[in-house]
C-alpha cells in the first residue's frame, strides 16, 4: 500500500476518450509514416474529435477475451470493480484497429499486394478474437485520386480488396500522401470516430444484455459493476448525459449493497469513485449546484460508515480525500469559467478536508501508538502476488472473499497491525498543511480575510506539531496583529500561547520575551496562575537563567530546548532587547503628560510619566528614560537605580522603581527649557522602560510618543464615553483611565513687564506725514537691554497697502516710494527700571481706508530659574487701526461770465473756472497756497493769483476761487480739451513748523469747446436810472470765414423807450466786427427786461436767440429817479 493509497486512480480522473490503434505504420524509419502519425498527434485541440491514438505493430497481442459465459447461475462475483478494468478499456482494448498499407490503384503487382494486405488484416483479426473491435484499412497512396466514379480501375480494385479482406466498403479508406495531409487526416479520424462510437454502442448493448441473467441475491455486486461499465462506455462514446444517468443509478445501487465491516471500504471506495464521476460530469454540464447537492448527499450517506474502529483513521483519510477531490473539481471548474461566491467556494472543501486530515492524525495517534518493539509482520500481509489488488477497496489478505465472517482472525489481526504501522509513518502534518494552504489561497480569492487568518493559525499550529517551529512562529506572528487590532483577546491569547511554546522550544530570546510581556498584559485572558508562571519565567530569563518549560510540550523537544537555553546563557552576545510597545499589548502601560500645553521659558517644564503594571506580581524596573525631539533634554529625564540583578523581585513594595500590579505609579520630571526653544514645540518622542539590567538580560520597552500600545486608543475612547463615576482615591493617586496623554508642549517667551502706549490724532489724512508717538516704559525690576522697536504696517494685510504706506522716523521731509512700510528692529538702547522713552514715528498713507499698524517692542533681560541664570527675550506688541481720509473735497465748475452754468465753452469767448475746496478733515487745515497750472490750450484772461493763501479751514468750511479763462479755437477735439491742474499746498494747522507742506494736485476736468458763427457782446452800464439815457453798444463779431448776412431787430419793451435801428439787415465781413448803438430810455424802476435783440443769420439757421442770450444781458437793474429828493421828502415827512 503506497502512501497515496487514498488518491483517486488516474484512469478515473482523466477524461475518457475513444481508443484507436494504428498498425502498419513505421514511424521510426519511414518519413511518410512519420508525417501521418504526426498529423494524428499534433494540435489535438478541442475542435478535433476526442480519440486517443496509439501506434502498435500489426501483430500486437491484445488482451485476451475471456470466453463468454452462457449462464450466470453459478457465477458469484468476487468484488465490485476490477482494478484493471478502466485502464483496459482506455489504453489496451481498442474500439478500432486501423491497418495502414501502401498501395496505389495502378500497382503493377496488384495481386500480391492485395493478398499481403488481406493477411495483415487477418493477423489483426486473430489477435482480437472474441472482441467486437472494428478493423479498418487505410491505403497510403502516392497519387492524388480522381473524383469518385471516374477511375474505373480504382472502384474495381477497391471492391476486390474489400472482398479479400472481408471488409465492408465503409472500412476502406484511401490516404493520398499529398499537400493536404492534415485535411485528409481530419476526415479520416472523423470516420474512425464514427466506427468507435458504434463499437462502444455495441459494448453498452452487450453489457445491458447480461442484466437479464442476474438475480438480486447473489449478483448484487454485478448490478453495480454493470451499471458502472455502461456509464463508463457511455463516457467513452462521449454520451455524457447517459453516462451521468447511469452513474447516478450505479451510485444508488452501491448504497443498496449490504454493508459490513469487511466490505465497507470497498463500498466506500466505489461510492467515492462514482460520486467523483457524477460531480465531474455535473461541473462539465455547467450545473454546479447539482454537483454540490450530489456531494452533500454523498457525504451525508457516507459520514457514518466508519468501518472498523481499529482502522477508523482510514475513514477520516477517505473523507478528507473526498473533500479534497471535490475541492479540486470545483477549482478546475472555476478555472474553466465558473464563478464561485464567498460562501460557496473550493476553500470550504479544502478546509473540511484539512479537518478530516486532522481527525485522521488524532485517530492515528491514538490507534497507532504501538511500542517500538512491535515489529512489522513478516510476510507482509499487504503484499499481493501481482503487487496490486484485484478489486478496488478490498483487503489484500482476503481478496475476493465475500463472506462477512472472518475466516482467519489471526490473519486479520496481522493485517490491521500492518496498516496501523504503515499509518504511523504518514506525514500527517504535511498533508494537513497542504490542504490548509490550498484553502488559504481560495479564501484569499473570495474576500474572507478572517477565514484566511483562522486557517493560517491552524497551519501555524500544525507546523508546531510537526516541530517546524520557525515556520509556525512566522505564520502565527503574521496573523497575530489581525486578532489584536480587532480585539479578539481570547483568540489572541490562544495564538500567543502557542507562539510562546514555539519560541521556548527554539530558545528565541526576543520572541520569548515579547510573547511573555503580552501574555502577562491586560489583553491576555490567561488565568492568574498561568500568568504567575510566565512572570516567573520572564524574570528568570532576565536574570540570565533558563525558564521552565512550557506545559504540554513534546518531551524530546523540551530536552533539546533546555540545551539551547543553556547555550544561550554561556553566549556573551548582545543581551539588550528593545521592543516597540505600539505593536502589541505589553503588561506595563505608560502615559506621559505635560502639566500644561505651554510653558513660559522662565518656568521649569514639568511632566508626569504614569506607569501601570498588569502582571500578577510586583515588578521592578531598572531604568526609565524619556527622549525628546530636542535631545538635549534627554539627560534630565532619566531615572536609574543601581540594583543588583537578584533584587528584581526583592524589596518589592519600596522605591519608586517598583510597580505594584493595578496601581498607577506617577513619576515627576522637571527641566528648564532652552531659550533657543522659545516658540518651538517640545515633544516626547519616546519613553523607554528597562526591565532587568545589563549584567543579565535587559528588555527595553519602547513607547513611541507619549505612551500607548496597540489597545490603548480604543480604551481611551471607551473611557471618554463612559459616564461611570469613579470611586474616590487618595489625593496622590489617579485613575488610569482619566489620564489623557499629552506628549507635547509649547515653550513660549517670558511675560513682558513693560508698557507700550501710542499717542496720535486720528484719522490720518491722505499723503500727510501722520505722527505716531510711541511711549515705552519699563516696569522690570532690573535693567532691560537691547530694547528694539519694530513699527509700521502690520504684515499680512492687503499687498496694495504695503505699496501705499511708508513709515519713517524723520518727520521733517516727505517720504517717497523708497521708504518701507515696516521699520524693523530700531535699536532704542537700554532702559532702567521705571524709565520711559518716547519715539516719534511718521506714517504716510497714499490711499484712504483703514490700516492696522503694529508696534512691537522686544528686549533682553537676565533672570534666574531653578538656580540657573538665563537670558530671556521678552516682547510686547500693540496694534492700532488707523483710518485714512481725504483732507478736503475739491469741486470744479465752468460758468459763463454771467455765472451761468456751462455744459461747454465757446471758442475765444471768456468763461470762468470756479474751484470749491471743502474741508473734510476733523482737524483744522491751513491752505498754504494754491496754484492753477493751465494746460497749453488754455489762456488766462487776467492774472492767476491765488485767492486762498493762508486760509484756515475748520471742518465743513470751504474755500472757493474763481479764474477767468479763455480757450482759443482748436477745431473739433474729441472728448474735450484739457484744462490743467489745480495744486493745493496745505498742512494741519496744529502741525509743527518743520513739518513739510503737502502739495495735493488735482487734475481739472476736460471741457468741450464749441465754435460759434457770430459772437455778440454788449457794452452797457451796470445799472440804469429812470428817465436817464442808457447807451447800449452791441458788438457783433463774425467768427467765420464767410461774409454773413445778418438780420437784426429789436423788440419793443414796456419798460424802455429806445432809439436806434429797430430792424436792419447788414453784412459783416469775415473776422470783422459791427457795432450797433442803441439808446435805451428806462421808464420803470426795478429789475427790468431789456428790449430783446433778435439776430437772424441767414447762413446758420441753427443760430438761435437762445444761444445769443448766453452772451448778452437780457435785463438790467433800473434805479428809481431822484433818490436824493426822495430822501428829503421822507425827512420832511
Amino acid at each position: 500500500m503506497s502512501p497515496t493509497q487514498w488518491d483517486l486512480p488516474v484512469e478515473l480522473c482523466c477524461r475518457p476518450m475513444a481508443f484507436v490503434t494504428l498498425t502498419g505504420l513505421d514511424v521510426v524509419y519511414n518519413a511518410v509514416h512519420r508525417a501521418v502519425w504526426d498529423a494524428f498527434c499534433a494540435n489535438r485541440r478541442a475542435d478535433r474529435v476526442p480519440i486517443s491514438f496509439k501506434v502498435l505493430p500489426g501483430d500486437h497481442e491484445y488482451p485476451k477475451c475471456r470466453p463468454k459465459r452462457t449462464s450466470y447461475e453459478w457465477y458469484i462475483p468476487k468484488g465490485i470493480l476490477k482494478t484493471g478494468w478502466m485502464n483496459k478499456h482506455l489504453n489496451l482494448v481498442p474500439a478500432l484497429v486501423v491497418v495502414f498499407y501502401e498501395l496505389d490503384w495502378d500497382e503493377p503487382q496488384w495481386k500480391e499486394k492485395q493478398s499481403e494486405c488481406a493477411t495483415r488484416v487477418e493477423i489483426v483479426r486473430q489477435s482480437l478474437q472474441g472482441r467486437n473491435t472494428k478493423v479498418a484499412v487505410v491505403l497510403i497512396q502516392k497519387k492524388t485520386p480522381l473524383p469518385p466514379g471516374e477511375d474505373v480501375i480504382a472502384s474495381e480494385r477497391a471492391a476486390a480488396l474489400c472482398n479479400a479482406c472481408e471488409l465492408s466498403g465503409k472500412s476502406l479508406f484511401v490516404l493520398p500522401h499529398t499537400d493536404h495531409l492534415v485535411g485528409y487526416i481530419i476526415r479520416l479520424e472523423n470516420a474512425f470516430y464514427e466506427h468507435a462510437q458504434t463499437y462502444y454502442y455495441t459494448e453498452i448493448r452487450r453489457v445491458k444484455s447480461h442484466k437479464e441473467f442476474l438475480n438480486k441475491t447473489t449478483h448484487q455486486l454485478l448490478f453495480v459493476r454493470h451499471q458502472f461499465k455502461i456509464a463508463f462506455f457511455s463516457e467513452l462514446k462521449q454520451d455524457t448525459q447517459n453516462a451521468l444517468k447511469n452513474y447516478r443509478t450505479a451510485y444508488n445501487l452501491v448504497h443498496e449493497l449490504r454493508a459490513h465491516e469487511t466490505n465497507i471500504l470497498e463500498i466506500k471506495t466505489m461510492a467515492g469513485f462514482i460520486n467523483y464521476k457524477i460531480c465531474r460530469l455535473c461541473f462539465q454540464h455547467n450545473t454546479p449546484l447539482d454537483a454540490i447537492a450530489q456531494f452533500r448527499k454523498h457525504i451525508d450517506l457516507c459520514k457514518k460508515k466508519t468501518g472498523s474502529a481499529e482502522l477508523s483513521f482510514e475513514h477520516a483519510a477517505w473523507m478528507s480525500k473526498q473533500f479534497q477531490a471535490f475541492g479540486d473539481l470545483f477549482d478546475e471548474a472555476i478555472k474553466l469559467g465558473l464563478t464561485a461566491i464567498q460562501t460557496q467556494n473550493p476553500g470550504f472543501y479544502y478546509q473540511q478536508a484539512a479537518y478530516y486530515a486532522q481527525e485522521r492524525k488524532q485517530l492515528a495517534k491514538s490507534l497507532c501508538n504501538h511500542e517500538a518493539s512491535v515489529m512489522y509482520p513478516n510476510p507482509d500481509p499487504l503484499e499481493t502476488q501481482t503487487g496490486v489488488l484485484d478489486f478496488y477497496g478490498q483487503r489484500s489478505w482476503r481478496q475476493g472473499i465475500l463472506s462477512f465472517d472472518l475466516s482467519d482472525p489471526e490473519k486479520e489481526k496481522v493485517g490491521v497491525l500492518a496498516i496501523q504501522l504503515k499509518e504511523r509513518n504518514v506525514a500527517h502534518s504535511e498533508v494537513i498543511i497542504t490542504l490548509l494552504s490550498n484553502a488559504v489561497a481560495q479564501f484569499k480569492k473570495y474576500k474572507c480575510p478572517r477565514m484566511k487568518s483562522h486557517l493560517m493559525v491552524q497551519m501555524g499550529e500544525e507546523y508546531y506539531y510537526a516541530k517546524d517551529y520557525t515556520k509556525a512562529l512566522k505564520l502565527l506572528d503574521y496573523v497575530m496583529c489581525d486578532y489584536r487590532s480587532e480585539g479578539w483577546w481570547t483568540l489572541l491569547t490562544s495564538i500567543l500561547t502557542t507562539a510562546l511554546k514555539c519560541s521556548y522550544l527554539m530558545a528565541q530570546l526576543k520572541d520569548y520575551i515579547t510573547y511573555s510581556l503580552e501574555l502577562l498584559g491586560r489583553a491576555s485572558t490567561l488565568k492568574d496562575d498561568q500568568k504567575s508562571r510566565i512572570e516567573k519565567n520572564l524574570i528568570n530569563v532576565l536574570m540570565n537563567e533558563s525558564p521552565d518549560p512550557e506545559p504540554d510540550c513534546d518531551i524530546f523537544a523540551v530536552k533539546t530546548a533546555q540545551k539551547l537555553w543553556a547555550d544561550r546563557i554561556s553566549l556573551a552576545g548582545s543581551n539588550i532587547f528593545t521592543i516597540g510597545a505600539q505593536d502589541f499589548v505589553p503588561f506595563v502601560q505608560c502615559k506621559a503628560k505635560f502639566h500644561a500645553p505651554s510653558f513660559h521659558v522662565d518656568v521649569p517644564v514639568e511632566f508626569d510619566i504614569y506607569l501601570k503594571a498588569d502582571c500578577p506580581h510586583p515588578i521592578r524596573f531598572s531604568k526609565l528614560c524619556v527622549s525628546f525631539n530636542n535631545q538635549e533634554y534627554n539627560q534630565f529625564c532619566v531615572i536609574e537605580e543601581a540594583s543588583k540583578a537578584n533584587e528584581v523581585l526583592e524589596n518589592l513594595t519600596q522605591g519608586k522603581m517598583c510597580l505594584v500590579p493595578g496601581k498607577t505609579r506617577k513619576l515627576l520630571f522637571k527641566f528648564v527649557a532652552k531659550t533657543e526653544d522659545v516658540g518651538k514645540k517640545i515633544e516626547i518622542t519616546s519613553v523607554d522602560l528597562a526591565l532587568g539590567n545589563e549584567t543579565g538580560r535587559c528588555v527595553v520597552l519602547n513607547w513611541q510618543g507619549g505612551g500607548g500600545d496597540a489597545a490603548s486608543s480604543q480604551e481611551a475612547l471607551q473611557a471618554a464615553r463612559s459616564f461611570k463615576r469613579r470611586p474616590k482615591l487618595p489625593d496622590n493617586e489617579v485613575h488610569w483611565d482619566s489620564i489623557i496623554i499629552q506628549a507635547s508642549t509649547m515653550i513660549i517667551s517670558r511675560v513682558p513687564n513693560i508698557s507700550v502706549h501710542l499717542r496720535h490724532e486720528p484719522p490720518a489724512l491722505t499723503n500727510e506725514m501722520y505722527c505716531l508717538v510711541v511711549t515705552v516704559q519699563s516696569h522690570e525690576k532690573t535693567q532691560i537691554r537691547d530694547v528694539k522697536l519694530t513699527a509700521g504696517l502690520k504684515p499680512g494685510q492687503d499687498a496694495n497697502l504695503t505699496q501705499k504706506t511708508h513709515v519713517t522716523l524723520h518727520g521733517t521731509e516727505l517720504c517717497d516710494e523708497s521708504y518701507p512700510a515696516l521699520l524693523t528692529d530700531i535699536p532704542v538702547g537700554d532702559l532702567h527700571p521705571g524709565e520711559q522713552l518716547e519715539k516719534m514715528l511718521y506714517v504716510r498713507c497714499g490711499t484712504v481706508g483703514s490700516r492696522m499698524f503694529l508696534v512691537y517692542v522686544s528686549y533682553l533681560i537676565n533672570t534666574t530659574t531653578e538656580g540657573k541664570e538665563i537670558v530671556c527675550k521678552c516682547h510686547k506688541d500693540e496694534t492700532v487701526t488707523i483710518e485714512t481720509v481725504f483732507p478736503f473735497d475739491v469741486a470744479v465748475k465752468f460758468v459763463s461770465t454771467k455765472f451761468e452754468h456751462l455744459e461747454r465753452v465757446y471758442a475765444d469767448i471768456p468763461f470762468l473756472l470756479m474751484t470749491d475746496l471743502l474741508s473734510a478733515s476733523p482737524w483744522a487745515l491751513t491752505i498754504v497756497s494754491s496754484e492753477l497750472q493751465l494746460a497749453p490750450s488754455m489762456t488766462t484772461v487776467d492774472q492767476l493769483e491765488s485767492q486762498v493763501d493762508n486760509v484756515v479751514l475748520q471742518t465743513g468750511e470751504s474755500a472757493s476761487e474763481c479764474f477767468c479763462l479763455r480757450c482759443p479755437s482748436l477745431g473739433n477735439v474729441e472728448g474735450g480739451v484739457a484744462t490743467g491742474h489745480y495744486i493745493i499746498s496745505w498742512k494741519r494747522t496744529s502741525a509743527m513748523e518743520n513739518v513739510p507742506v503737502i502739495r495735493t494736485v488735482i487734475t481739472l476736468p476736460h471741457v468741450i469747446v464749441e465754435n460759434i458763427p457770430l459772437h455778440v457782446n454788449a457794452d452797457l452800464p451796470s445799472f440804469g436810472r429812470v428817465r436817464e439815457s442808457l447807451p447800449v453798444k452791441y458788438h457783433l463779431q463774425n467768427k467765420t470765414d464767410f461774409v454773413q448776412d445778418v438780420e437784426i431787430s429789436v423788440e419793443p419793451s414796456d419798460a424802455f423807450m429806445f432809439s436806434g435801428l429797430k430792424q436792419i439787415r447788414l453784412r459783416i465781413l469775415p473776422g470783422t466786427e459791427q457795432e450797433m448803438l442803441y439808446n435805451f430810455y428806462p421808464l420803470m424802476a426795478g429789475y427790468q427786461q431789456l428790449p430783446s435783440l433778435n439776430i437772424n443769420l441767414l447762413r446758420f439757421p441753427n443760430f438761435t436767440n437762445q444761444l445769443l442770450r448766453r452772451f448778452i444781458p437780457t435785463s438790467i437793474f433800473v434805479k428809481p429817479q431822484g433818490r436824493l429828493m426822495d430822501d428829503t421828502s421822507i425827512a420832511a415827512a
Binding site: Q342, Q352, C448, M451, E486, G487
Partner: protein, 184 residues
C-alpha cells in the same frame, strides 16, 4: 453621545416592533410579529449552540454551550464576520436604511449553521445552530434574533452601560441561556 445612540437604538427597535403590523415590514423572510410573539410566549426553542454580540469588529459578548470547545466557536464567530461584511457592502448605502435586519444564513459547515443579524447601529448578532437541527427554520431564527435585539436594547438603555463595553448584564445572560441548548 452615548445617551443619544442608546436612545436611538431603543427607538429604532420599538418602531421595528410596532411597524411589524404594517405590511411594509412584512416582506422578506421575517414575517409578521404575531407569529413570532406566540413562539416567544410558548417558550423559545432552545437550540443555539453559540450566541455572540459584536460591535464593529470586537466581541461584546460570546456564549457557547459545550464550553470545552470554546475557542473553536470564537474562531467561527470571527470568521463569519467576513460574510457579514460582504453582505453589508453588497447592500450599498441607499438600501442600508430600509434593509432587513436579519441577514439570514451566513454560512454552513459540516457541523454548524451560522446566522447573522445586524442592528441599526451596526452591532452584529451571530448565532450558531447545529447543522443536523432541521426543525429550526428562518422564521424561528429570526424571532430569536429579535428577542435578542430587545434584550440588547434593554442593556443599551441602562444609563450605566457604556456602549462598546463588554456586556455583563445578568438579564441579558439569562435571556441567552434560555436560547441555548442545555447540556445535561
Amino acid at each position: 453621545m452615548p445617551l443619544i445612540s442608546s436612545l436611538w437604538e431603543a427607538k429604532a427597535n420599538r418602531s421595528f416592533e410596532y411597524s411589524c403590523l404594517r405590511p411594509a415590514w412584512g416582506r422578506g423572510s421575517c414575517v409578521t410579529s404575531g407569529g413570532s410573539r406566540d413562539v416567544a410566549r410558548a417558550g423559545p426553542p432552545k437550540m443555539a449552540v453559540c450566541i455572540a454580540v459584536i460591535a464593529k469588529n470586537y466581541p461584546l459578548y460570546i456564549r457557547s454551550t459545550p464550553t470545552e470547545n470554546e475557542l473553536k466557536f470564537h474562531y467561527m464567530v470571527h470568521t463569519s464576520l467576513d460574510v457579514v461584511d460582504e453582505k453589508i457592502s453588497a447592500m450599498g448605502k441607499a438600501l442600508l436604511d430600509q434593509r432587513e435586519l436579519y441577514l439570514g444564513l451566513l454560512y454552513r459547515t459540516e457541523d454548524y449553521k451560522v446566522y447573522g443579524y445586524i442592528t441599526n447601529s451596526k452591532v452584529k448578532f451571530v448565532m450558531m445552530v447545529d447543522s443536523s437541527n432541521t426543525a429550526l427554520r428562518d422564521n424561528e431564527i429570526c424571532s430569536m434574533f429579535r428577542k435578542l435585539h430587545n434584550s440588547y436594547t434593554d442593556v443599551m438603555c441602562n444609563p450605566f452601560y457604556n456602549p462598546g463595553d463588554r456586556i455583563q448584564s445578568r438579564a441579558f445572560d439569562n435571556m441567552v441561556t434560555s436560547m441555548m441548548i442545555q447540556v445535561c
